[in-house]
Assembly symmetry: C2
Homo-oligomer: 325 residues x 2
């Protein structure tokens, strides 16, 4: 993945040159803060990778990559307010550090800045085309976030609804990043669509695996103790699939754990994981994840680029699923 | 003002046809709610009026007018959260009715919807040009809102800073609405710029008059008791100009009233107004307001449209300053 790493460092260099507004400080300091917290810069990197499939000069795509990264960080700022999250990437969240009002307003200006960066692209037809896709995607991300909040209150969420939610909340932005990169690189509509579908399916596969790893991941490999989602009563794929497959008694037992207020944390994790295992949920999740992954990879054949470049995408998908960025 | 009234009703008709998204309901109900609360629809109306200066068919400009109105309402939703306002147009604010999380997210999606409407315009060059102006304006509105919040904490705000704040927070959006209408109507860059400056100066004049009316307006004419800004210790033009002109004793008296925690409301209003009157603040405000108004009207001469159409704008300005919409 030399190509991806090089792209990531080129993007980081570009990002380091950005000033993010001038005054008032209280509006722009939070923007600079969240943008400096790091992160994998995965979305801009795949945008630039997809651009490079069609055009080796990635400089003209940098503003679009920046737009995607600033938009992603805007969603983090506002989501963290809604989730009342104290920490992000091991540091205080924006609303904890600067207060909720500044977090709302700085988030707003980041959303507008994302458009400002997109509008720096050169060709008006390309700007219009990409802005429409970006806008559609931004709306979907908001819809996904609302669905996610709705699910917390609901007791009748289906597996299909859950897949739709993760698609909107996380996958479409990865998909859009890939398509935008293809378009700035000069790809035809057909190739751009294939890359969108590659990203969309890969994003869903990634999120399903995330659910699995949160409960069954190797703590030595992933650096965190499993069971966070279980303790937070998150309606993940694992939980919803278990409800779908469980007999009446097991269902009651599972629901009891998810509504219990007084419990031993270790025992709750162990018991819920026991139910998941008994119902073979890990295998079901693995299977569905693989199906989406294969669907993603399937979209790569027929792409009008040389096999060695298609290999970049296969390697990217592989490393993504291995959590090696 | 038959022309303006007709435009307002045509816009309202167009607005009534909008559905504002589909699902999830929890995301779009707040959008439909705030958009149904009414208001004068002033910004879309002036956009369409400026379009009509150059082109009698206003239909193609409707999406841009909608974008401006949805953006304006987005700012109301988020500002009301920041100001902890319980009421808007006599009804519960969005965050009071639906909760803060939904108000944040619905506001976000409204900002994106505004772009979606702009992107419905037909010519890619026009879309790019207008989107850039809209984006610059949206950033300025955020900056103005942050300055306004900063001023609440600061004790050294100058009159010039205050004028800059109201320019950013309210005038540039009116100015942009006028310029966008000119551009969709086919105006040249020169005319479009003149209309921008007309709107910008008129907006500042309007806001200065607003400050004056809040303390010295006729309650029978404006439907509210004067003194709201004084009771809220708002750093209006009147207050800042008074601080600038007052001798040491008067300054101390004024600052004491603005930091008092235990007082008789009627007495506070009467005393502060007494200080304002002694310093001839109403005349100063009137003078500055008139200067901006005249600057605005001055930009109309030289506009490449027939005198009877320029008259639309003069009549609009007159009615705006008379609060007759």
């Amino acid at each position: 993945m030399q190509t991806l790493h090089q792209i990531q460092s080129e993007f980081q260099e570009y990002l380091d040159q950005q000033t993010f507004g001038t005054e008032p400080d209280n509006l722009y300091l939070p923007v600079r803060y969240i943008m400096s917290l790091g992160g994998k810069r995965l979305r801009p990197a795949v945008l630039l990778l997809c651009h490079k499939l069609f055009n080796d000069n990635i400089a003209p795509a940098m503003p679009a990559a920046l737009a995607i990264e600033v938009f992603h960080n805007f969603t983090l700022v506002h989501d963290d307010i809604m989730d009342q999250a104290p920490l992000r990437r091991g540091q205080p969240t924006v609303h904890h550090k600067y207060g909720t009002n500044k977090a709302i307003l700085s988030g707003d200006v980041m959303l507008v800045l994302a458009y400002q960066y997109l509008l720096r692209l050169e060709n008006p037809d390309l700007i219009t085309n990409i802005s429409k896709l970006f806008t559609k995607t931004a709306i979907e991300v908001c819809e996904g976030q609302q669905m996610d909040m709705d699910f917390e209150e609901r007791t009748d969420v289906t597996v299909d609804e859950y897949i739709r939610m993760i698609e909107l909340k996380t996958s479409v932005l990865v998909a859009a990043a890939m398509k935008i990169g293809a378009l700035t690189g000069g790809a035809g509509e057909n190739d751009a669509k294939r890359l969108y579908e590659f990203g969309r399916n890969l994003g869903i596969a990634f999120q399903l695996q995330d659910d699995l790893l949160d409960s069954f991941g190797d703590p030595e490999k992933f650096g965190k103790q499993p069971g966070g989602d279980i303790l937070q009563n998150k309606k993940t794929y694992l939980f919803l699939k278990a409800l779908e497959l469980a007999d009446a008694d097991t269902k009651t037992e599972l629901l009891n754990w998810y509504s219990a207020t007084d419990f031993d944390e270790g025992k709750k994790i162990q018991s819920v994981k026991g139910i998941f295992s008994k119902l073979e949920i890990p295998a079901h999740t693995e299977q569905l994840k693989t199906a989406f992954e294969e669907k993603a990879l399937g979209r790569l054949s027929g792409l009008n680029v040389s096999p060695d470049r298609i290999e970049w995408l296969r390697a990217f998908a592989k490393r993504l699923m291995q959590r090696k960025f």
